[in-house]
Symmetry: C2
Amino acid sequence: MKILRTPEEMQRAAQALRCEGKIIGFVPTMGFLHEGHLSLMKIARERADVTVASIFVNPTQFGPNEDLAAYPRDFERDEKLCRETGVDLLFYPTPETMYLDSHSVWVDEDSLSEVLCGAARPGHFRGVCTVVAKLLNIVLPDFMVLGEKDAQQLRILRRMVRDLNFPVEIISGPTLREADGLAMSSRNKYLSPAERAEAVCLFQGLEKAKELFAAGERDADALKEAICEIINKTTGTVDYIEIADNESLKSFQALEKPVLVALAVKFSGARLIDNAVLGK
Amino acid sequence: MKILRTPEEMQRAAQALRCEGKIIGFVPTMGFLHEGHLSLMKIARERADVTVASIFVNPTQFGPNEDLAAYPRDFERDEKLCRETGVDLLFYPTPETMYLDSHSVWVDEDSLSEVLCGAARPGHFRGVCTVVAKLLNIVLPDFMVLGEKDAQQLRILRRMVRDLNFPVEIISGPTLREADGLAMSSRNKYLSPAERAEAVCLFQGLEKAKELFAAGERDADALKEAICEIINKTTGTVDYIEIADNESLKSFQALEKPVLVALAVKFSGARLIDNAVLGK
């Protein structure tokens, strides 16, 4: 596995690979890897000639009061995991080479980004879209693998690729979960042991919604209330519970087409998100 | 010369050419071609294996009160000129294939776009950046040739390519002028014969500024006043006359480094722009 530290170096390597006709698969990450990330790398490895992963804690997707400085980092461990998982090229740039002082160009999505996490984290998806546009131009992949846990991010990046005509396919990988059902996330490390035990409430809420939906419930408020009840038994605070069109992310009342159930819950140690698609 | 009508068709053709190792040179235009456009195509032809031109009157770079509907179009003539100039692929998409109804992703430049034409035309450069980002992803060129007449556009697109890491080189071609010095522009057609005769005032103003600069004048206001005096002898109205840092486009008073002198003048038939770089 080769580690590349600057955009120029990575882009040159990618261009050389493309000239040779190699299929490049790409998994962008913010590091502090868990099994969820590794499962995406395995998906890439199966379909690509060359698997590229990136580790970059992107400063522009953190708000001024968010956890940029505290975001967990462990490059040595990440490097080892990437190597063991069969990553060929690891792109690990410094913030200074990714964002010059006079950086002034941004990619904005102005519809899907208005709701859910976008409403709670203004500017977050602008940062995500901008860094992923950059990464796509640097890594030049044939396909990119993204996790389904970040449901809104996945839909926004699909929209970006469509609207800006990036020549890349997006493949999504299912959310991996701990034994009790908690979705794997680098931020789970922030939780106290007591909170960690409670954090399964997001999954339990989604399971409850699925159960009610399977039994014929089609009223969005009824599903949301059932989820809310489960969260409220813990020390977590509901940030949002939303039931939205699976494509447009518009919220609605009577469920007909497949819907996305998405929620965010704040614990003292971390804000967690999870989601499920109903009616697919 | 082959004409391609959809982004998908053009992108497939470009990908096939890249697989063959061909160098693609690209000239984006809004059509109604004049010698200035053709000179850029000739620059591309000399360095590329395959020369691609696009003709697309991009709706998103026109303001609500601007001349989108009236913008001159003559595809038959343009096609003939492209063919004669040695263009290999002509990308001529419809607005519907370029912008889907649910289009929601935009590329914004938020520093260089604040001044000059950007101040007078809010949203204009967002439209320009977005369509050029799309075109770069569709045409996949090794290099793109842009005209120096649109000085601010050139600098903003260089910034976009830098900040989003597009794997493309930007080459600029000098402004072509009519016999009397008027910069060639598709919009010159809008001018009445009397206005056409007066329109040389932009060039004359720039020549005057060069002359004063060569004689040692370094005060921006003095240069601006000299240009303004020349414009005011015509029926044209000064939209702006600006002297700005050639890179950052920040305006300043005492000229030291190379500066861009840029101006826009409104006639009843058209708003014209021109520019010169002093001290290079």
